[in-house]
């Protein structure tokens, strides 16, 4: 039996960290967000496949330039859900679903998703899940890209010459910063304007 339906019992108002536990709406939105990222990424690879395949054949490390596309789910999850673990969950699930759609699902996809999600998660963890600005988002994308580059250098590119491995990691970091970081921050801002984030922390933060 509850009293007047207001507030303080569940959430603390103001700008500080709101409740850090996941509500049902947070979980479901995070999962659907991962799914839509996977679908968009799949369409993106269908569109770009000829370009990507050509560039990968011509100069393999250049494929790192578009790898930021793999990482958008992590930053979007963190910026929209604003809960601990959101980046990790979204990126991991998106990676798995991308694997389903492109029929290349496997444990390596799970490993990649975990590593890349961890990259973004770390950056937001360091801010105590309090800051969701352009700079933090860009940094999150960059670290995620770095993690992607390094992990792939270890897992797949181990036969490459060392300087080429470095080039690859630099390109993935750049790509992560621009595509998964800065660009996604602007996407979230546009989403806030549409009102669809109303039920979430990111939607309420704007008011």
């Amino acid at each position: 039996m509850t009293q007047v339906r207001s507030t303080t019992a569940r959430t603390s108002p103001g700008r500080g960290p709101r409740t850090q536990s996941w509500r049902v709406v947070d979980i479901v939105v995070a999962a659907v967000l991962a799914a839509v990222c996977a679908v968009i990424f799949w369409m993106w690879s269908n569109l770009l496949y000829p370009v990507v395949a050509t560039s990968a054949v011509a100069y393999p490390p250049s494929a790192g330039l578009i790898s930021g596309g793999w990482l958008v789910a992590g930053t979007l999850g963190a910026l929209i859900i604003r809960k601990p673990g959101a980046a990790l969950f979204c990126e991991l699930l998106a990676a798995v679903l991308e694997g389903f759609l492109g029929t290349h699902f496997g444990w390596t996809v799970v490993i990649s998703g975990l590593v890349q999600g961890l990259g973004v998660e770390l950056v937001f963890l360091l801010t105590g899940y309090r800051r969701f600005g352009l700079l933090v988002a860009t940094l999150g994308g960059a670290v995620s890209g770095l993690f992607l580059g390094v992990s792939e250098d270890i897992m797949y590119n181990y036969e490459w010459a060392t300087d080429q491995k470095v080039v690859y990691a630099v390109l993935t970091t750049l790509s992560g910063a621009v595509i998964a970081g800065a660009l996604m921050w602007f996407v979230v801002r546009a989403l806030q304007a549409t009102g669809v984030l109303g039920a979430l922390a990111s939607g309420a933060a704007r008011r």
Partner: protein, 267 residues
Amino acid sequence: MSTVTAPSMFAPRTGFLARANPVVKLLGALLITLVIVVSADPVTNAVALAGQLVLLAGVGLGPWRLLTTLWPVVLAAVISGWGTAMLSTAGGPVLLHVGWVSITTGSLAAGAAIALRGLAIALPGITVLLTTDPTDLADGLAQTLRLPARFVLAALAALRLVEVMVTEWGVLAAARRARGAGGGRGPWNALREFGGQAFTLLVQSLRRATRLAMTMEARGFGAGPRTWARTLHYGRVDVLVGAAVVLTAVGALAVSMSLGTHRFIWQ
């Protein structure tokens, strides 16, 4: 508007492996993948690949269907092999020299090994994907492996919406063309139109997500401990599958070690 259809993930599955427990298959795939990921030599990978090709017979698809399903993986493996052949520092007689690229017998061998390995890494997951219903997989993850049920079930519900999203993508393309969008030429316009279409899909999906959350919450989702309507079966099939997987993984290591070719990726 083009017809891109999502691979139907909820279609009924046939074949020997379809009857095996999803957790057994998943852990089996993990074991084989682990062995391949840590091994850099072609012998281990070739034996593991051979074992998996035998297991593929249990998928229940004919050779032709298998090939049409698997070609992107084969292509990706070939491309990554090519990349390694170009960038590897392995020596040997030069076979091809164009600009700064030179391919030697050593680098070509390294590339072939990478391609083989790429295929061997991709196959276990695909085998699981082709023979496992997502609902059963989710049950296994939550009931047997004890992953948090709320997250597993939300992921399962989101997976169901993937098909809806893929259909909507096509409708969106037509709806935007009706407004005159996407008429411009060149890659920049194509990119912008893609971005706009993706943004609308994102908005629609987020709306859908909040409504779905409402549905699930009203049905008691996330309130407390839950029961499971479906039971997981473990049977003789699982023992057989498990044995085949262990044989493949251990066999690959045993063969390469006895031949003295085994090499870890960090070696």
